[in-house]
Symmetry: C2
């Protein structure tokens, strides 16, 4: 038995602050055509794929800050992605910054991803749960990481969506480091976890070598894939962007935890893998047969307690 879908990760090289969204969308549609030519029916773009990673700056002018967010989806600027999706029959995952006013008139901001099916319909939405960084300007940092200031914590949990022949899940960037992210989707029998990321090559607050940071990027996704018997597609925004070197290393990971496709540049680059959505079934039926082996009575601290508490001295 096999359920095949060919999937692409469409890594984006740097997007400078001045680059227009039209220009970025053109780069993205070029990659969608390329991916389609290699057989892909599903393309995974990065987190905040339409703009530079603006949380690296402390932006005090609200209108300027707002310009990095999308207030409608699709918009005139993003419509070409949907048009090409429909023309080619290619679904996609898109990370972007979402802004709207709620029923009380309050301005709401989320770090969001949507899933679009092969008929160009939005079939799923996710809002980032694990916002890294800090909420207010920290002058001692070489660059800022203001996600906790520029976004609210996602309010949709980790939903999955049955579409395109499988059970599809989404997360964003820092979410990939947390085993809880993967497990909550694993508890819903997920087949592919899609995620985009924006990760600096260097740690801004601790000495940590770039090779170690790439290892952490990959090992988190590989463990998450294996431990839930799911495919994973991780797509980077890569290269020197706004003066900060951003990690590449986009990859497609099998349910065995093996990296089966890997980007080798820090530029716009399409990687493709043919994914059998049943490849992880033996894992979910044997070593990670949750129903047979999980012992939730021993897991209480995971959901009872937010922070770690050491035993008394």
């Amino acid at each position: 038995m096999s359920r095949l879908i060919t999937v692409a990760a469409a890594q984006l090289g740097p997007i400078e602050r001045e680059e227009s969204k039209d220009s970025v969308v053109k780069r993205m549609t070029d990659m969608m055509r390329h991916a389609h030519g290699r057989g892909a029916r599903l393309v995974v773009y990065p987190e905040m794929a339409l703009t530079t990673f603006f949380p690296r700056w402390h932006i005090e002018d609200e209108a300027e800050l707002d310009s990095f967010y999308e207030t409608e989806m699709p918009s005139a600027q993003t419509q070409p992605l949907f048009d090409l999706s429909k023309e080619l029959g290619v679904g996609f995952y898109l990370g972007y910054s979402e802004l709207f006013h709620d029923e009380t008139g309050k301005k709401r901001r989320f770090n969001t991803a949507i899933l679009v099916n092969q008929q160009a319909e939005i079939v799923g939405k996710y809002r980032k749960v694990h916002l890294p960084g800090h909420a207010t300007y920290e002058p001692e940092r070489p660059w800022q990481h203001l996600e906790k200031g520029y976004f609210e914590v996602g309010d949709l949990g980790f939903p999955v969506f049955r579409t395109m022949g499988g059970v599809m899940g989404m997360c964003l960037c820092n979410d990939r480091r947390w085993p809880e992210t993967w497990r909550v989707m694993g508890m819903q029998d997920v087949d592919i976890v899609m995620l985009g990321y924006n990760t600096p090559v260097y740690n801004s607050v601790a000495a940590e070598s770039p090779h170690l940071r790439m290892f952490h990027n990959h090992v988190s996704m590989q463990a998450g894939a294996y431990q839930n018997g799911t495919w994973a597609v991780g797509t980077a925004k890569a290269g020197m962007e706004g003066g900060v070197d951003m990690m590449a290393g986009s990859c497609i990971i099998a349910p065995t935890g093996e990296i089966v496709a890997l980007a080798t540049t820090s530029e716009d680059e399409v990687i493709v893998a043919e994914c059998d959505l049943d490849r992880g079934r033996y894992i979910r039926d044997t070593v990670f047969n949750f129903d047979q082996h999980r012992r939730i009575e021993a897991y209480g601290l995971i959901t009872e307690r937010t922070g770690a508490v050491a035993p008394p001295e």
Copy 2:
């Protein structure tokens, strides 16, 4: 700041069914002396370190089955380990099969590990939570894996113990594959997770290459260490034992997820690493600062549900 302790993994080569416990304990004390000579103050032995991995056989004779269990700790046979521990000032982790009669007279069996401090006092006990395998004889298997038949599910959770200068945690074999195991100890600010394992080189029920199984062994421990900023010491029972090839690959893993010491044989082998228990502090204070970043409101399914439930077709 640093809190240094030199730790050893004392991998055991095969223990045949006929080998006496006295003989095994001699091998173990030899390795404790060797480890001490290399500076170790804490030695981690495998799971079921005193016997062959008997769940590979369907043993119908109850007296014969009982002979693989310890009814007291220490016993005359295991006393030499405690005597040498005291003489050398070396603590140890020991996996063994535990049998006792409870207050109702019922015979109880657990797959157990104890932690012994540098004064040879038992300071911690753990009983295996994630029992792999099956409960009854399955004739189609090339070898059995009757842990679910020979042991009860551990009833002590994943406790940690403040001793020997740090916060010490334990688990056993299959536990290492489950991110829940690591996280529950991470929620208690664990510094070192010790574990012994008995894992066949080949999967008895699915086609899976030995290199992939070794990768799964290591990636589970590396992710667990990194994602909780803890040291990990994994010690194998290795080599051809009872006709089944058992995976070696004993290792000591830093809180960065890096393997810093690795066994290269399938025999009795001591590996040693100097562990700074504060090495993981920057991880627990930054990327995995649980208090700042965890979002337990999104994790409910992890403790609400045992098995996976797919969305409706």
